[in-house]
Structures are given as structure tokens and as C-alpha cells.
């Protein structure tokens, strides 16, 4: 009789102690837990591909602590590469602890020896953020940072809901020369979109807002792709991308964005050199 009670008490005691340690909370403090999580994710996303350390190839920059988990600035930059075969054509973005960790794949112009991109992401919990660069010849290199920040996925939209929906799809382009590089320009692309991820509540009704986000962005320059993104729910409201592209003598920069409701938004600008400065030409 006592023995049985004793076992029950033991069982209760242990279940109480350990059940509260959900993976999320545990991974916030344990590197071991993060590694285990990544092993699982790596297997699911990349299967048996060998991913090498990105040191000397790709650098990821994130704040150590998210200023606001719904808008976490992140950027990556590759080192200058000599061999054409080592040029980076794709960069995969993985946010380990987000509801949908595989957050996107960026593609770039194939003739760039150095890639730079900046955007803003949402973080649901303290997490590793990873960028995995894929080269022309099929090598993979990873850079990863741990970022403290949580609640960014359920965070309410910034601004007025109706306004946001009415303005969805507005696009703005900014360009400028990159210092000391005649042939490279920097583009900043802003797309107005609420990016509802299905995890936010509507203030009026308290019901969850249905997911409504951009899953594909394509930027072409003179009809050649210079940046494209297949993405998921982790890109922040009003997606913004800053990246480099080979500029030449000028031409048409065109953006096309698609959201999961089937809307296609596009916008283009004519770029021209004026006094050695790349400008948006007045039409």
C-alpha cells in the first residue's frame, strides 16, 4: 500500500519537475538544447547535405537582443570571392524557434562576387538565426547568431488595420551608388503589406486574423533576376530589403511581389547615371 503511494508520489514529483521545462524555455538557456533542435531541423530541411562553417565566407549580423521582436533588423554579407564557382547564388534563412523555422530562400544575380542583404524578421522566442549560403558548385556554408527576443510573431500589427489592408502592395524603390564600387549599386525596396502570419489577434473581434503574407518577391534589372525571395511568415510587416546589384549603364529595375491571397503587386523604375550618380530617372 505504502509502496504504491510512494511510487505515485515519486511519479508526480518528477513529472511536475520536468514537464514544465518546455523545449522553448529550455533552449533559451541551453546551448545543448539548441544544438539538438538544429540537428532535427537540419535533417528535415537539408537532409544529408554537408554544411560547413561560414567563417571567411558569410557573415551574419543581428542584434544580441531584439529591440522589438516583431521588427528585428538582420543582414548578411559575403566576403569577396575570387573563383566564379564559389560565387554564392542562394542564401537560406532558418529561425530555429519560430513556428515555421525555414523562413526563406534568397537568390541573387549569378555574377556577383559579393552579396549583401538586409531585412527585418519576427522572432517568436529566444532563438538561433541562421543563414546558409549555397555556392554555384553546390557547397554550403553557415553563419548563425543567438538572438534574445520573444513574442514577435503574436505581436499586434503596428498601425491601423484598415489602413494597412488598403495600402497593401504599395512599393517604393530607392537606389544609390556603393562607395568605391563603380559597377555596384544598392537598392532599398519597401513593400507595404500587413504580413499577417495567422498568430495575431484582431483588436475588434479578438478572433485570430487569417494569415495573409507575401510569399514571393522577385526583383529584376533589365529582365535579369538580381534578388528573389521565397518566404514564409517570419518576414516583418512592411517587408524591406536592401541589397547590392551590378548596375552597368542603367536600365529598368522591376519588383514583383505575390501574397497568398493571389494578389500580385508590381512596380518598376528607370535607373540612369547622372553626374556619376545612379538616380531614378524622371519619366
Amino acid at each position: 500500500m505504502y509502496r504504491a503511494l510512494l511510487y505515485i508520489t515519486f511519479a508526480l514529483f518528477f513529472s511536475l519537475t520536468f514537464s514544465v521545462k518546455a523545449e522553448e524555455a529550455y533552449c533559451a538557456v541551453s546551448e545543448e538544447c539548441r544544438e539538438a533542435r538544429w540537428t532535427d531541423l537540419k535533417q528535415t530541411i537539408f537532409k544529408d547535405i554537408d554544411i560547413k562553417s561560414g567563417e571567411g565566407i558569410i557573415e551574419l549580423s543581428t542584434p544580441k537582443r531584439a529591440p522589438d521582436a516583431a521588427f528585428v533588423p538582420m543582414s548578411f554579407k559575403t566576403h569577396k570571392l575570387k573563383n566564379q564557382d564559389d560565387f554564392i547564388t542562394k542564401v537560406h534563412l532558418v529561425i530555429d524557434m519560430n513556428p515555421s523555422p525555414y523562413s526563406g530562400t534568397f537568390k541573387f544575380a549569378t555574377n556577383l562576387d559579393q552579396i549583401e542583404l538586409a531585412t527585418r524578421i519576427r522572432l517568436d522566442a529566444y532563438t538561433k538565426v541562421r543563414v546558409i549560403a549555397e555556392t554555384k558548385k553546390g557547397d554550403y556554408f553557415m553563419a548563425a547568431n543567438f538572438v534574445k527576443g520573444s513574442g514577435g510573431c503574436a505581436a499586434p500589427p503596428l498601425g491601423d488595420l484598415d489602413n494597412m489592408i488598403a495600402n497593401a502592395g504599395k512599393i517604393k524603390i530607392k537606389v544609390k551608388n556603393v562607395e568605391e564600387k563603380d559597377d555596384i549599386a544598392e537598392a532599398k525596396i519597401m513593400i507595404s503589406h500587413p504580413q499577417f502570419n495567422g498568430l495575431q489577434a484582431n483588436p475588434e473581434t479578438t478572433e485570430m486574423i487569417e494569415a495573409y503574407f507575401i510569399y514571393n518577391v522577385e526583383v529584376t534589372y533589365n529582365d535579369k533576376i538580381v534578388m528573389s525571395l521565397e518566404s514564409d511568415i517570419s518576414i516583418s510587416q512592411d517587408p524591406t530589403f536592401r541589397f547590392n546589384f551590378p548596375v552597368g549603364e542603367g536600365g529598368d529595375l522591376k519588383i514583383t511581389a505575390k501574397d497568398i491571397d493571389g494578389n500580385i503587386y508590381s512596380h518598376s523604375e528607370k535607373l540612369a547615371m547622372q553626374d556619376n550618380q545612379l538616380k531614378i530617372a524622371f519619366q
Partner: protein, 325 residues
């Protein structure tokens, strides 16, 4: 026989272990320290810590207050958890046996409203800005998650919406006649005002007309870095209006009580510098991550927790005005 005795002893030992957190938790609720700042007006000062972050932080970070009239008591903000609310209730009961009839929330942030639940058993009516309910609904899923993540130390904390809005509504309940209203605690009237979007879009102030004690919530902050969760420009505008109000003692949402507009001016200066620096960054097309490092840095030494609060203010301000430049 001996074996059973040992097991029995062991069993009691384990049981004690199991119950000990509950026993300790029960004992933890002690009345909050409160200070009398005017006749019938009391304030509890919150600690300048990060919300729920340290193990012993149960959300006691905001200034809370209560005002005692001839007939009843009004509570202004209830703290960052059910536990803080309970402790505040104990503190009030130590001072006065009069019924607690009103709770007024100065805005919808966690550290000011999460203690509301502790006062429901008193049969209080909770007042808040006319947009407070919307604000709390919007934050609902995020806030509840935060409470769950904090675990046992804030057990029982829940989101309680205001029962009544701070506004004068037409008899047919359709039109808002004014953003102001008064409540009477018995020979003591409080003027409640809902403000336009500033610190948040749910900011309200409480002016005790008897002692001219002015509870301004986080519209004015002293010591702790203000959190910008509304609109910078509007906030400055609202401060310009509040500045004209005649008061004897101002109780900011965080930091020390004020005899004049020093803290108000300090808050305003921070906001102006924040706004100017972010707009300057936008005009020069400097990326957000760089603007975070530089914006409002000249204000750094004037505030506590600056490095934790300022970056978020910069990002949110940057996002708001990004399309205009």
C-alpha cells in the same frame, strides 16, 4: 515492519517537498510598501527592473496609487501580476477599511493592468481609456503568452478588461460628448481624462481635485527610460497640453513624484531627440540597425535601463516614418 516505517517517513518527506512551493508561495504575499504623499493619497514606487526577467521579478515595476474618499477608495493602476495586485490590496486594507470601489488603469501596459484581477473580489468597477479594451484585445495573445512563460510566480494572472470607459457618453449611449468625466469617492472628486495617442493609444490621467495630486501614468516618466509605444509627435503634443494643468504633486508612471514639470520636460526632451535623430537617419538613408546605435544616445546618461528600452523606441519610430522619407 521497520521497512514500512522508513517508507512512511520517506513518504512524508516527499510530500513536504511537494507542498513546500505552495507554502512558500502563500507566504510571499505581503502588503506593498506605500507612502502617503498627500491627505488620503498613497503611492507605491515600482522597481526599475526588466519585467518578469529576474527570477524574483513578479512585475512590481510601475508606480501604483490609491486615493481615499469619505465613502470609498479608488486604485490607480494595479501592478504587473495578480500577486502584485493582491499585495497592493493588502497595503490598502492596512490603511483603510473603506470599500475599494474603483480601479483606474492609466494605460494598457502589463505592469499597470495585470493586477486588476486581484480587485474583482472587492466588486470594483474598472475604468480605462475609451480605447483600452481594444488595446488589450489586440495585445491579448501576446500578453497571455508572456504570463504563461513566466510560470508559477505569476500564477492566476489574467487579462481583465475595463468595465467602463473614461468619457462622457450621451444618454442614448451613442455619442462621445467629452473625453473627461468625474467620479466621486465621497466629498472627493477625481477628474479622469482619456488622451489622444501618445505613449500608447490608451493613455488616461487622474487628477484628485481635492489635493491637486495628478496621476499621469507613463505619459511622464522619471528615471526609467520612457517606452514609445504610440506616436512620438503626438506624445509631445499631449505633454504640451498636460503641462498647462495646475497640480501640486505629479505622480509619474515610473520614478519619483514631482512638484513641478521637471520630469515632464525631461520626458519631452527625450522624445524630441529620439524623433529628430530617427528622422535625420531616415533623411540620410541610414539603415535601421545603424540608427539604433546612434539615435538618442545623447540622452543615455539621464535614464535607467536606457540600452534596453531605447532600441525598441528607435525601431518603432523608424518604422512609423520610414515611408515618408
Amino acid at each position: 515492519m521497520k521497512e514500512i516505517k522508513t517508507i512512511k517517513f520517506f513518504f512524508i518527506f516527499i510530500l513536504f517537498f511537494l507542498l513546500s512551493p505552495l507554502i512558500i508561495a502563500e507566504n510571499k504575499i505581503k502588503p506593498l510598501d506605500v507612502k502617503k504623499i498627500a491627505d488620503g493619497v498613497y503611492v507605491h514606487y515600482g522597481k526599475h527592473e526588466n519585467f518578469y526577467e529576474k527570477e524574483d521579478n513578479i512585475g512590481d515595476i510601475a508606480n501604483l496609487g490609491f486615493i481615499i474618499g469619505d465613502d470609498s477608495i479608488a486604485v490607480i493602476d494595479t501592478g504587473g501580476s495578480h500577486q502584485v495586485g493582491e499585495s497592493l490590496k493588502l497595503a490598502i486594507k492596512k490603511v483603510s477599511k473603506k470599500p475599494i470601489k474603483y480601479v483606474i488603469n492609466t494605460h494598457g501596459h502589463q505592469d499597470h493592468v495585470f493586477g486588476n484581477s486581484a480587485f474583482l473580489s472587492e466588486g470594483v468597477t474598472i475604468y480605462g481609456h475609451y480605447s483600452l479594451k481594444k488595446f488589450l484585445q489586440e495585445r491579448g495573445s501576446q500578453y497571455i503568452r508572456q504570463i504563461t512563460q513566466a510560470g508559477d510566480k505569476v500564477k492566476g494572472t489574467s487579462l481583465i478588461f475595463p468595465h467602463k470607459v473614461i468619457a462622457e457618453i450621451s444618454p442614448d449611449q451613442v455619442k462621445k460628448l467629452s473625453d473627461e468625466m468625474t467620479i466621486d469617492l465621497g466629498n472627493r472628486k477625481l477628474l479622469l481624462t482619456s488622451h489622444a495617442t501618445a505613449h500608447t493609444y490608451s493613455d488616461a490621467t487622474v487628477l484628485d481635485l481635492k489635493t491637486k495630486t495628478f496621476f499621469v501614468g507613463d505619459l511622464v516618466q522619471d528615471e526609467r527610460t520612457p517606452t514609445m509605444d504610440g506616436l512620438v509627435k503626438n506624445w509631445i503634443k499631449v505633454l504640451n497640453e498636460i503641462e498647462k494643468i495646475d497640480f501640486k504633486i505629479m505622480v509619474p508612471g515610473h520614478g519619483k513624484i514631482q512638484k513641478d514639470n521637471t520630469a515632464l520636460e525631461k520626458t519631452k526632451t527625450y522624445l524630441q531627440v529620439l524623433y529628430d535623430d530617427v528622422i535625420d537617419g531616415l533623411k540620410k538613408d541610414i539603415p535601421a540597425e545603424k540608427v539604433i546605435e546612434t539615435a538618442a544616445q545623447s540622452e543615455k546618461d539621464k535614464w535607467v535601463l536606457f540600452n534596453r528600452v531605447n532600441p525598441g523606441n528607435v525601431v518603432r519610430t523608424f518604422m512609423r516614418y520610414e515611408w515618408e522619407y
